[in-house]
């Protein structure tokens, strides 16, 4: 809907508009001061060398050039992070959806189950990480304990170079209950008449899922895909608390590298440049998803298949 020009507005409408601007003013001030401002400052800092307490020194594009031509840890951390994103995002989407389908069943006490599955999403990341150290301990952990009952020798999990990354993925899956609630809202918005009509037509549950549930849930899936992907690129706590990036850099995520450069090596300019490269990578990934979404995202309120 087109906006009405200010000069043609009635006095009452103008007053309401002013009230609206006044209402959002605290948020705008907060955004400028605490989000947009620091973002712009960090962009400026990315062209400097800065050790926090001495004045920054302008180095132009040197930080970016070094990153792409002379920094093995940058490449390692990027590779590890991409591996994590590729492994974790599809799994989180699928498991979250599967959980939401279960939680959408019309059973007695379902609200209690929904609450229980949502609980991990409100727990502190550090506390959860410490709990998972115990759960996945090779000798004392409950997971390997259960595997041993079936005669399976469990892996070294966080302490094994090949299992460390899958362990972090597994740990993240534990908290898909938060995403499942969003799927659940999407599922409950699908008109029940569609299911009733398909039942009359003799559709099976599987056909209902493929032809009704999944297509009508694609906007929610798209939203989840974007947010989960961004979250995956920013993974930090698990590596910081549990693995410290090891063993053998198997969990040396990009944000951990950024953190070490900023707060251990006092290389704030380089860390800012690392931050902006991550912003650009994430933005490109999101843009690709937006561009391709027209082929698979269906909106109920639109006759078109495109976004």
């Amino acid at each position: 809907m087109a906006l009405q020009p200010w000069r043609t507005m009635q006095p009452r409408a103008r007053r309401e508009a002013w009230e609206g601007y006044l209402g959002i003013l605290p948020w705008v001030i907060g955004f400028v001061l605490f989000t947009a401002g620091p973002l712009l400052v960090s962009l400026g800092l990315s062209f400097t060398q800065w050790d926090i307490v001495r004045p920054p020194q302008w180095v132009g594009l040197a930080n970016y050039i070094r990153m792409f031509t002379d920094d093995d840890l940058f490449r390692t951390s990027l590779l590890v992070t991409f591996s994590y994103v590729l492994l974790s995002v599809p799994l989180q989407l699928i498991v979250g959806l599967a959980l939401a389908l279960l939680l959408n069943a019309n059973l007695r006490g379902m609200n209690l189950f929904r609450t229980i599955f949502y609980l991990p999403a409100v727990l502190s990341g550090v506390a959860v990480a410490l709990m998972w150290i115990w759960i996945l301990h090779p000798d004392l952990g409950v997971v390997n304990g259960i595997l041993s009952i079936f005669g399976i020798k469990g892996p070294g999990w966080f302490w094994d170079q090949h299992w460390a990354l899958p362990s972090v993925v597994l740990m993240r899956l534990w908290s898909v209950g938060g995403g499942a609630v969003i799927y659940l809202a999407g599922l409950q918005n699908i008109p029940s008449q569609l299911y009733e009509a398909s039942e009359i037509d003799g559709a099976s549950r599987w056909q209902q899922f493929w032809s009704i549930t999944l297509p009508l849930l694609t906007p929610t899936l798209f939203f989840q895909l974007i947010t989960i992907m961004i979250d995956a690129f920013r993974i930090f706590t698990e590596a910081y608390v549990i693995t410290k990036g090891g063993p053998l850099n198997a969990t040396y995520f990009y944000m951990l590298y950024l953190y070490e450069e900023a707060f251990q090596n006092f290389n704030m300019g380089y860390a800012s440049a690392l931050g902006w490269v991550l912003v650009i990578i994430t933005a490109i990934a999101a843009l690709i998803l937006f561009r391709t979404s027209s082929r698979w995202v269906f909106y109920e309120d639109s006759e078109e298949r495109t976004v």
Partner: protein
């Protein structure tokens, strides 16, 4: 009122776009190693002993108000610090000190912000982060003007905690150190003789299997928590040359290979807790004190706080240096907190007057008597109530050793060790053969040299 309808599609797109926009997560600052370059000081003098008992600080003539930021800790709780402040203000009625006791978690961030902005920083505070030292006041003119006795401090702590770019920027408050605690009962049970305080690496390798008892879920000894700590230095290993310019021949030198090989041998005794065990059963960052106290670890590298816990819990224990040969001198992983005056202080003289009370004999003795601080001033430390106990005598001796921090506090140590981390990880995970250690160290030398060059260029 006119409204613009937002469709579900638009809403979801807007949300996705908004989420895309902000990617950078805010990361909290961490406690970083403290920096200090080595300089020489005289040996502790007995003359300082008499100073320890008297309030010798001359009063500042004109009235002044200064700010002091501190944190509470086991060594100096808030109540003790406030009492100490009252004693100072009584002796110096012209100086008013506004104390802010910050939670330890938020202290680093607040200091970094204030010092980075160059405004709002306290006149006197802990400067334990090496990145802050350029903002600390050069104390040398004040020290010289008042003939302040530097020699009263234990040399290692003065050298490693107060020097920056060839001048004095702080005083060392309190002391701490790592050493080996061994459980005498376990030694008795296994009919093994106690080690003397100069434990060797070979003895450690021999003792750990003898003291291990799988039926009691007991390990003989723990494993080091990182390379280039006391044992590495005791064996003569260094990560780079004394002038901090060269890695080759040091990180991969004979002494370093020997230290990593010793670690390899220790891991292969299967008598130490695994890395996973230490992560789960150890106490974060401070060593496996709980395992030691529970009698499940016969020898452990712990600190003076753990030692006092063992005393309280009546655990029969003995003390030894971290393993070494003696031929390279005895090195200790020790620490103290640097306290400084901010360069931007409007009242530097009053701030110095308070600083030298807090970090001098009066303040440190007060905090020793009224809290749990172990002072960095030897004559005051000698007045410790348990100073005549065997463990205290051994601990005081260890405090005189050369400190790993002489090298460890250099700001390029961390990036160099980061580059060398793959070797550590492989040895800890038992992924390489004993004779591959040299080749593995050779392989990380180029990355370590690059990290050293880069850090020196930025922070040197």
């Amino acid at each position: 009122m006119k409204t613009t309808k937002v469709s579900r599609r638009q809403f979801l797109r807007m949300n996705a776009l908004a989420a895309t926009g902000v990617v950078l997560a805010a990361c909290g600052a961490s406690s970083a190693p403290q920096t200090g370059q080595s300089s020489s000081t005289a040996e502790p003098s007995s003359a300082a002993a008499s100073a320890a008992t008297a309030l010798s600080v001359p009063a500042v003539a004109k009235p002044a108000t200064i700010t002091w930021w501190s944190v509470p800790s086991e060594e100096y709780n808030e109540e003790a610090q406030r009492k100490m402040l009252a004693a100072f203000e009584k002796a110096n009625p012209n100086i008013k000190v506004n104390l802010t006791v910050l939670p330890a978690d938020g202290y680093d961030q607040k200091m970094t912000t204030a010092l980075g902005a160059n405004q709002g920083a306290p006149d006197v505070a802990f400067f334990w982060n090496s990145a802050w030292l350029p903002q600390a006041l050069d104390l040398e003119p004040l020290i010289k003007a008042e003939n302040f006795d530097k020699s009263q401090y234990i040399k290692g702590f003065w050298d490693t905690r107060t020097q920056f770019k060839g001048t004095t920027v702080g005083l060392p408050l309190g002391v701490g150190a790592n050493f080996v605690l061994y459980n005498k009962k376990t030694f008795d049970d296994m009919k093994v003789s106690y080690p003397d305080m100069n434990l060797t690496p070979e003895q450690w390798l021999q003792l750990t299997p003898k003291l291990t008892d799988p039926s009691k879920k007991r390990w003989g000894g723990d494993r080091p928590r990182g390379p280039f700590r006391a044992i590495w230095f005791n064996l003569g290993a260094r990560p780079f040359s004394a002038d901090s310019k060269t890695v080759s021949g040091y990180l991969n030198g004979d002494a370093s290979v020997k230290a990593y090989t010793w670690l390899w041998d220790l891991i292969n005794t299967n008598s130490t807790p695994t890395a996973a065990d230490l992560d789960v059963l150890g106490t974060a960052g401070t060593g496996p004190v709980d395992l030691f106290m529970a009698g499940r670890l016969a020898m452990a590298t712990l600190n003076q706080g753990h030692m006092l816990n063992a005393v309280s819990a009546n655990v029969p224990f003995g003390l030894a240096r971290e393993p070494g040969t003696g031929s390279n001198g005895s090195w200790v992983n020790a620490w103290s907190n640097t306290i400084s005056v901010w360069k931007g202080s409007k009242e530097p003289e009053a701030a110095w007057t308070f600083l030298r009370f807090w970090g001098g004999p009066e303040g440190q003795k007060f905090l020793m008597d009224n809290a749990n601080l172990l002072p960095s001033i030897k004559p005051v430390l000698d007045q410790y109530s348990k100073a005549n106990e065997d463990y205290a005598k051994t601990f005081f001796q260890i405090l005189q050793d050369r400190q790993v921090a002489e090298v460890g506090n250099l700001p390029w140590m961390s990036p160099v060790l980061r580059a060398a981390k793959p070797v550590w990880d492989k040895v800890m995970a038992n992924q390489i053969k004993r004779d591959q250690i040299k080749a593995e160290l050779d392989a990380v030398v180029p990355a370590a040299q690059k990290a050293l060059d880069d850090a020196r260029q930025r922070l040197g």
